[in-house]
């Protein structure tokens, strides 16, 4: 019997793309769909997905839980669990457009919810930590249920299929977002499970990722020490958790996080602080080929591994920041570009909303480096 | 110049730090109760005057300082000390003088178990321990040099030492005031009783120093014969093993 | 150039002499052939004294008495400073044996000629005594 993602580790190759409006002006999903579709050859029809930020302004203060269910029984069990931990403002099936090219879809529901105060106060943890724990518990322990996304005012739309078909299925052209990221997947085998597709998310974090991380087991075991339940066995999952751990829990700024996950070589270190970060978080050095786009509700960071084993291109035009595995995927939606460049290994591309700098605490040097690169 | 610290005003680490950083040659510390590692690792000739009950490992690994304690010591007083002098106006706990290589330790009252265990002489260094009261069992276990003197001045009715005295000892001397029960002394130890004061010549300076430190009259110290314990066979385990290339 | 012997690490094993003997007289370093078929003769001596030992071999003196004394010009110094015997010219008068202040030059076993250390000048590598010393006690040094 074929084992499902989570029971077995499946390396994959991929295409990634992102489009962001730095003023926070929202636009629909047609551009990102066109962008990722332009890289059709990089995926094999076994995974595609999108993350969108700013799509639920009417519920901006609620955690938007997108959940896949294998069947209605799983839904009932999971909803009882949700009722127990959340006050749910609104719930509904996620609207989809049936298509010949998409098969085996799970039941997909969304819930706009807030944690029950008595629950997380009792455990002396914050609201976000509470939600993170609930999400990890559902994904690890509730068979037949999988939380596809759990942030505020954002969602992940993903499944098994080519990304353009997945986009059509989820009707993403009907959503308005200021950040879109996308992923086309080329996994090395064919179990075809919707939860295994990208983006992988936790709270507001979403990650799309191209490449395989050879340090997976080291990274995973490091995160497990801090209570993360790794249920999917994909690199992408540990990257999302690594960002969550370093930024939300350890309070590092983005610049420092980049120095951890794509640390310069010892011989290239410029300051003692980088050495310190590397020593302290050596278990989170992401080793092996990757290009990733990590997004959150006020911006995104795109990053290559430190010896740049995967492709990545960025472009700027007015308030738009484009990132993709191939330049063609940017040109297909924006012929006229102010600037196009490929960052070096370990050099982050940082895109931030103009009015929300405080949220993602980036050291000024990182922004300058990204803009002058 | 003398620096005076009141231990109550410091926590454990800040007290050690303040003492280490003090440039004064004499340091007095008041109101001690359980503070460990005082004078630990000191390589200097400073004087330390301590009041209260000090914590474990007083003067451990030190080489040179003089430590005067008005109060009791806990475990490990003078542990692995190389040089210096520790004078305790009170009692001490177990393993005082463990692995001591030099310097001297004067204790007015009793000492605990395993006093002077693994003490050893080295070149011109010969460690010395003088105890006014009694010592616990395993006195001088593994002893490889130096001198231990137990006076038994406080409890005239009891043996000044516990059982298993000198087990595994292979050098050095233990001197006991009075005669000792033979079943307290390890097999390999020779006990000689010296009645005449002339025979006490080698330890007389130590006894005088003890009397001066604690205000004893020498006539009281010398009112009994002394027993000297030394090793019969220095290599008692030399036939224990048979080499085998396996 | 000369061989320097470090008595701190000389084991007195004598391998230097064995390989020396085998390197000369036509056996090209084969110890078995030299010793089983020939009459090997080492060009170096081994001195042992109170648990110390060291090799005794030619110092290749700057102003070598043996060269001055040689009656046929067989003893020569090459441009590397190696004092050696030209076997074609040596007539076996053994004057050199007598004048060497260190007793280094020996008569051949049949007394037909003199033999001495030539620092294995015909070999590309280091002298065989140096390369075969098991403990690095011998070195070839430049100064005289």
């Amino acid at each position: 019997m074929l084992r499902r993602e989570g029971d077995i580790r499946i390396p994959s190759g991929c295409a990634i793309a992102a489009i962001m409006n730095r003023k926070g002006e929202r636009f629909n999903g047609q551009q990102i769909l066109a962008s990722i579709a332009a890289m059709h050859q990089r995926s094999n029809g076994l995974g595609g997905g999108f993350a969108a930020y700013g799509i639920y302004p009417e519920y901006r203060d609620y955690f938007a839980l997108h959940i896949f269910y294998d069947d209605d029984g799983a839904r009932q069990i999971c909803e009882r669990y949700l009722q127990h931990h959340f006050r749910i403002k609104h719930q509904e099936p996620v609207p989809v457009r049936q298509s010949r090219r998409i098969a085996g879809a799970p039941l997909i529901w969304r819930y706009f919810a807030r944690p029950r105060e008595d629950k997380f106060y009792r455990e002396h943890i914050g609201e976000e930590e509470f939600v993170a724990r609930v999400v990890m518990t559902i994904n690890a322990d509730l068979r037949g249920a999988f939380v596809a996304s759990s942030g505020k005012n954002m969602a992940a739309f993903k499944g098994v299929g080519y990304p353009e078909d997945i986009g059509e299925y989820y009707r993403i052209e009907e959503y308005q977002a200021y950040i879109w990221t996308a992923h086309g997947r080329f996994p090395t085998n064919t179990p075809g499970w919707w939860g295994g597709a990208h983006p992988f998310t936790l709270l507001d974090w979403s990650v799309v990722h191209n490449g395989e991380i050879s340090s997976y087991s080291t990274n995973r075991r490091f995160l497990e020490m801090y209570g993360y339940k790794i249920s999917l066995q994909t690199d992408t999952e540990v990257i999302a958790y690594a960002f969550d751990f370093l930024m939300r829990r350890q309070g590092l700024c983005l610049n420092d996080v980049v120095d951890v996950v794509a640390s310069p070589f010892w011989s290239q270190l410029e300051e003692e602080k980088q050495a310190r970060l590397r020593r302290k978080y050596s278990g989170l050095l992401l080793n092996g080929p990757f290009s990733i786009i990590v997004a959150t509700n006020n911006g995104l960071v795109a990053l290559n591994d430190r010896i740049k084993l995967r492709p990545l291109v960025a472009a700027l035009q007015d308030e738009f920041l484009y990132v993709a595995s191939e330049e063609a995927a940017i040109r297909v939606v924006a012929q006229r570009l102010d600037r196009v460049w490929s960052p070096g290994g370990g050099e982050p591309i940082v895109g931030l909303l103009h009015d929300k700098k405080g949220l993602l605490d980036v050291a000024p040097s990182a922004i300058q480096a990204a803009q002058s690169a | 110049m003398m620096a005076v610290f009141d231990a109550v005003e410091y926590n454990h680490h800040t007290l050690l730090e303040a003492m280490n950083q003090s440039p004064d040659e004499e340091i007095e510390v008041l109101n001690l109760n359980g503070q460990r590692y005082l004078g630990c690792g000191w390589k200097n000739h400073k004087s330390l005057i301590l009041h209260g009950t000090v914590g474990n490992n007083l003067g451990a690994f030190c080489e040179g300082p003089t430590i005067l304690l008005y109060g009791n010591g806990q475990e490990g007083v003078g542990n692995t000390m190389s040089a210096g002098e520790i004078i305790v106006h009170g009692r001490v706990g177990d393993i005082a003088g463990y692995s001591m290589r030099g310097g001297s330790l004067y204790i007015r009252d009793d000492a605990g178990y395993r006093l002077g265990i693994h003490m050893k002489a080295y070149q011109d260094k010969s460690p010395l321990i003088v105890v006014g009261g009694r010592s616990g069992a395993f006195l001088g276990e593994y002893m490889a040099g130096g001198t231990i003197i137990i006076l038994g001045l406080n409890d005239p009715g009891f043996s000044p030492i516990g059982p298993y005295c000198g087990t595994g000892m292979y050098a050095g001397e233990i001197w006991l005031r009075g005669e000792v029960p033979s079943n307290h002394v390890a097999d390999n130890i020779k006990a000689e009783v010296f009645q005449e004061k002339a025979r006490l010549e080698v330890i007389m300076p130590h006894l005088q120093r003890f009397a001066a430190c604690f205000g004893y009259d020498m006539s009281i110290i010398l009112d009994k014969p002394f027993t000297r314990l030394t090793v019969v066979d220095k290599r008692i385990f030399s036939r224990l093993y048979t080499g085998f290339a396996g | 150039m000369k061989i320097q012997s470090n008595s701190e690490y000389c084991l007195g094993c004598g391998l230097c002499r064995i390989y020396c003997a085998a390197a000369h007289d036509g056996y090209n370093g084969s110890v078995i052939r030299a010793f089983k078929k020939g009459t090997p003769q080492a060009r170096a001596g081994l001195i042992e004294h109170q648990q110390q030992s060291w090799i005794n071999t030619c110092r290749h003196c700057q102003d070598a008495p043996c060269i001055n004394a040689c009656i046929t010009g067989a003893l020569q110094k090459n441009n590397e400073g190696i004092v050696f015997i030209d076997g074609q010219r040596c007539v076996g008068c053994l004057t050199c044996v007598m004048v060497c202040p260190f007793g280094h030059i020996q008569p051949s076993l049949d007394f037909s000629r003199a033999v001495k250390c030539d620092l294995c000048r015909d070999l590309a590598e280091a002298p065989v005594c140096v390369s075969h010393c098991p403990n690095g006690a011998l070195r070839l040094i430049e100064e005289v």
Partner: protein, 492 residues
């Protein structure tokens, strides 16, 4: 007793066609096996031979072959020849069997049942000759937050250090060789418990000094000049027992280094008498930190025993910055054979268990983990790192690099290779200049091999190998063994 029932262990065969009677063997054998009469007749006493191969290696004509003595006892798969020999020896002497080096018994080597991974297609392998490949490792506690002063660390250019081997157990030339090699290769050597010889003070910055129960040579200078201080609680070859350097080995120089009288026995008690419990260990660790002004990482070395994960966890909580664990294959200059061969557990399982336990308890960052005891080659290093160790200690392998032929008779002090001896005539056989080159060569060779293996895995920093158990698969192991190692079977 007049009759010895022990037949020789080895026989020395001399090929007369090859022997040239040079007598090198006679001079080199410190055990009086080889003899040469005045008339040139050469003869041997087989029973003196320990199988060290010094004569065979130095023989210029390879005329000598050392073989197992052919008088095979009646085959018996339960009562082996060695069982009988051990009993004969004890019946003759009444002694405890004393032996040297590590446990030679045929217990399963888990290293030999682990296979490494390599990249194919889904990620690229890396060529270490052309791309950067980092083996640099820091040992110590990583818990101080970024705002605080960092705790003291040891910086290793490669995750391999030389194990503790004391002067007295080994010759000074061994220590000189290892100290030089360690300094040259950016790593550390360990004094063992016998003090730091004055000739080696120039290598202090590359030195880890040990504090063992005997406290030999321990004073404030000793502690403060080193790079780190290691408390030796136990040793893989002899867990639970102390040490006994017999007086014959305590030469004037050894005595000066150990700070004891010459020619007297040097006893290391079984326990530290100031450590009878875990809170006492915390006290000794802190005493040493105070004595070194909190500037040195404190390592604690223990033998791998049955409840090692609980012990290691306690050690970390007691403040150890480095936890060194010595597996049951670890070697020694002398140990009772029954102790060496029957006590302890394999280092592979110990590291796997301790690493996982420290992670489960959330204290893996508080201390580094050093594996010792039976690391034979660079693949063993890679495997133990992937199981969770930060670095390894090598002892036996280092001695073999210096010439040791594992004859297991270190306890005699008559080591023909100049290694396990303090006799001047024998220890001079190891020229430290050559020894340093050989030891450094070994490190360099392993360094290259580790880089090759890491490159194959697509990893360019040892940080990402540490604890990377996905890079290991078990072959020929039972499920419970796989579970203990925290890995899956090959093909899974």
């Amino acid at each position: 007793m007049s009759l010895s029932m022990l037949t020789p262990a080895f026989t020395v065969e001399r090929n007369q066609d090859r022997c040239i009677g040079c007598g090198v063997c006679v001079k080199q054998c410190g055990n009086s096996v080889h003899h040469k009469d005045e008339d040139g007749f050469m003869w041997v006493i087989d029973k003196n031979c320990v199988g060290c191969h010094r004569c065979a290696v130095l023989c210029p004509t390879q005329a000598l072959a050392i073989k197992e003595f052919p008088a095979a006892l009646r085959p018996n798969s339960y009562w082996s020849t060695s069982s009988l020999r051990e009993i004969y020896a004890q019946a003759e002497t009444g002694g405890v069997l004393l032996t040297g080096m590590g446990n030679p018994r045929p217990f399963r080597s888990y290293f030999d049942h682990l296979l490494l991974n390599a990249s194919q297609v889904t990620n690229p392998s890396i060529d270490p000759l052309r791309e950067p490949m980092e083996l640099g490792t820091y040992l110590g506690s990583q818990v101080s937050s970024l705002g605080e002063r960092e705790k003291p660390l040891l910086k290793l250019d490669m995750p391999i250090m030389f194990s503790a081997m004391s002067y007295g157990a080994v010759s000074l030339n061994v220590q000189k060789s290892l100290a030089r090699a360690a300094r040259e290769k950016g790593t550390f050597w360990n004094t063992g418990e016998g003090g730091l010889h004055s000739d080696l003070q120039e290598y202090a910055a590359s030195t880890i000094v040990q504090v063992a129960s005997g406290r030999f040579g321990v004073n404030p200078d000793y502690l403060n000049q080193a790079a780190a201080v290691e408390i030796k609680i136990g040793q893989g070859a002899k867990p639970g027992i102390g040490g006994h350097l017999p007086g014959e080995k305590v030469s004037a120089d050894v005595a000066r280094t150990r700070m004891i009288p010459a020619w007297s026995d040097a006893i290391s008690p079984a326990p530290h008498h100031d450590v009878y419990s875990i809170e006492d260990l915390a006290q000794l660790i802190e005493t040493l930190k105070v004595a070194t002004n909190f500037e040195k990482p404190i390592s604690v070395k223990v033998a791998a025993v049955h409840n090692i994960s609980a012990i290691a966890s306690g050690m970390v909580r007691a403040g150890a910055d480095i936890v060194a664990i010595d597996g049951f294959r670890g070697a020694t200059g002398a140990a009772p054979m029954r102790i060496r061969d029957n006590i302890g557990i394999p280092i592979e399982i110990a590291i796997a268990q301790v690493d996982q336990r420290m992670r489960d308890e959330g204290i893996r960052d508080q201390a580094s983990l050093v594996a010792a005891g039976g690391i034979r080659n660079s693949a063993d290093v890679v495997k133990i790192l992937a199981l969770g160790a930060d670095a390894v200690y090598i002892g036996t392998a280092a001695l073999i690099a210096l010439g040791c032929h594992l004859c297991h008779t270190c306890f005699t002090g008559r080591c023909n290779w100049g290694i396990a001896t303090t006799e001047a005539q024998l220890s001079k056989r190891l020229n430290p200049e050559l020894g340093a080159v050989r030891a450094a060569n070994l490190l360099q060779a392993w360094e290259h091999e580790i880089k090759e293996m890491m490159g194959g895995m697509g990893i360019n920093a040892v940080d990402s190998l540490r604890g990377n158990r996905l890079m290991l698969k078990g072959i020929g192991l039972e499920q419970h063994e796989l579970d203990l190692l925290g890995i899956t079977a090959a093909g899974y």
